[in-house]
Amino acid sequence: MSFAAKSPWLIHYDGSSCNGCDIEVLACLTPVYDIERFGIINTGNPKHADIFLITGGINKQNESIVQQIYKQMPSPKVVVAVGACAFNGGIFKDCYNILGGVDKVLPVDIYVSGCAARPEAIIDGVVKAIALLDEKSKSAS
């Protein structure tokens, strides 16, 4: 097992979401779920992050920003799209500003469904992302 799996740092970004999924992501850090026991840290700095947790359907304004954050992350990296909006735009699919999901702008590795996604589901998604990170880092080295 590579060390990327033992210490996965994540960056969370709100890509035009209603904040429901964001609150659930932050709930994962609270004592009830406590993802720090897996060594996961929510860093605000893409240069320090391995996993990119995005919520929301992405709009024209933050399209370039989301891509910039992704580029700033050093490899190996994994993208996790959290929530129905991140999957295909969700309830906001027909809005004029929503591009319709994270995979319109970035290569997504894991999708976590839900509206809002439950912390248990988010943790499940992050655990799958860690396994993928492990594979990527093994194939990279």
């Binding site: 210490s7 004592p31 406590d34 026991r37 840290i41 929510n42 700095n45 240069k47 320090h48 080295s141």
Partner: protein, 288 residues
């Protein structure tokens, strides 16, 4: 002489292990205070090993040079300290290491990085008076700047410098980067300006700053210890206990106080340096 060399080599080999475990214990105790389980104690080692396997995105190459400078001079300061050398020179060396870190952060053309550098400079301005008073206090109480003389004196330095000890504990909060004084960069969830000083560092360069921080912590605990250590063998045990209690208090303060503004940091540090430090020195100069 032989003992000094053994101590130096032991520092070079064991200080990162000690520093890493200290960081791990810190996170575990912090987590327990917050009602969480917390990561395993060896988590910092996992973090650093992971960072070594990541791509290093270099903003500009002079940053790498400055991080090496910070790393080398931190170890140099610690080595000199554990060899039993001149305390004043040790403090100047650690200040130089910090300057390298500040220059590293300034050299990246980044807003958060520059702000982190400015705040770090401010923090240095806040704790430097107390650090110098610590050195002077040791000189007056044991007659020498050399650490090997301080730890072999008949009476513990703290009996002459209790105020200076308390003052040093106060600024230790700044040096250990703990709330309320973690203005320039802080651990993880406490961030204010993204990561401040280390925002533009990644991969193995970030890992080096982390390891240098461990070496620095080992050295700082050492400075705490020499307040207590004297020529008796049991003073070493007392010093260990005092250091453990002091570090626990630092973790407690970290968890109970929110970050302050820079003016509060500067004013409170200087007031503490004046009240605890200079008054202690004045009292000492009457006694000695």
């Amino acid at each position: 002489m032989m003992l000094q060399i053994i101590s130096l080599i032991a520092y070079i080999i064991f200080a990162p292990i000690f520093g890493g475990l200290l960081a791990g214990v810190d996170r575990k105790i912090t987590a327990r205070m917050q009602g969480r389980t917390g990561p395993p104690i060896i988590q910092p080692f996992y973090d650093v090993l992971k960072l070594f396997s990541k791509e290093a995105l270099v903003v500009n190459y002079v940053q790498n040079l400055f991080v090496f400078g910070y790393f080398v001079f931190t170890i140099f300061a610690g080595c000199l300290f554990f060899y039993g050398g001149d305390l004043l020179l040790v403090f100047f060396a650690i200040t130089l290491a910090e300057i390298f870190l500040i220059m590293c952060a300034s050299s990246a053309n980044s807003a958060y990085s520059s702000m982190g550098a400015q705040r770090e400079l401010l923090q240095m301005m806040a704790y430097e008076p107390m650090i110098l008073i610590v050195a002077i206090g040791f000189y007056i109480s044991s007659g020498s700047f050399a650490i090997k003389d301080i730890i072999t004196s008949k009476i513990s330095a703290i009996t002459f410098t209790p105020g200076i000890f308390l003052g040093f504990l106060f600024i230790l909060t700044i040096k250990l980067r703990k709330s309320p004084f973690d203005l320039s960069t802080s651990h993880h969830a406490h961030q204010e300006m993204v990561k401040g000083l280390t925002v533009e560092l990644s991969g193995r360069i970030l890992a080096l700053t982390e390891i240098a921080h461990w070496y620095e912590n080992a050295f700082l605990i050492g400075v705490l210890a020499i307040f207590i250590i004297n020529s008796t063998w049991w003073s070493w045990i007392v010093a260990l206990v005092v250091c453990a209690i002091a570090y626990f208090i630092e973790i407690l303060i970290d968890n109970t106080y929110a970050r302050v503004k820079w003016k509060v940091l500067l004013n409170s540090s200087w007031i503490v340096a004046f009240v605890f430090g200079i008054l202690n020195l004045l009292a000492l100069s009457y006694i000695k």
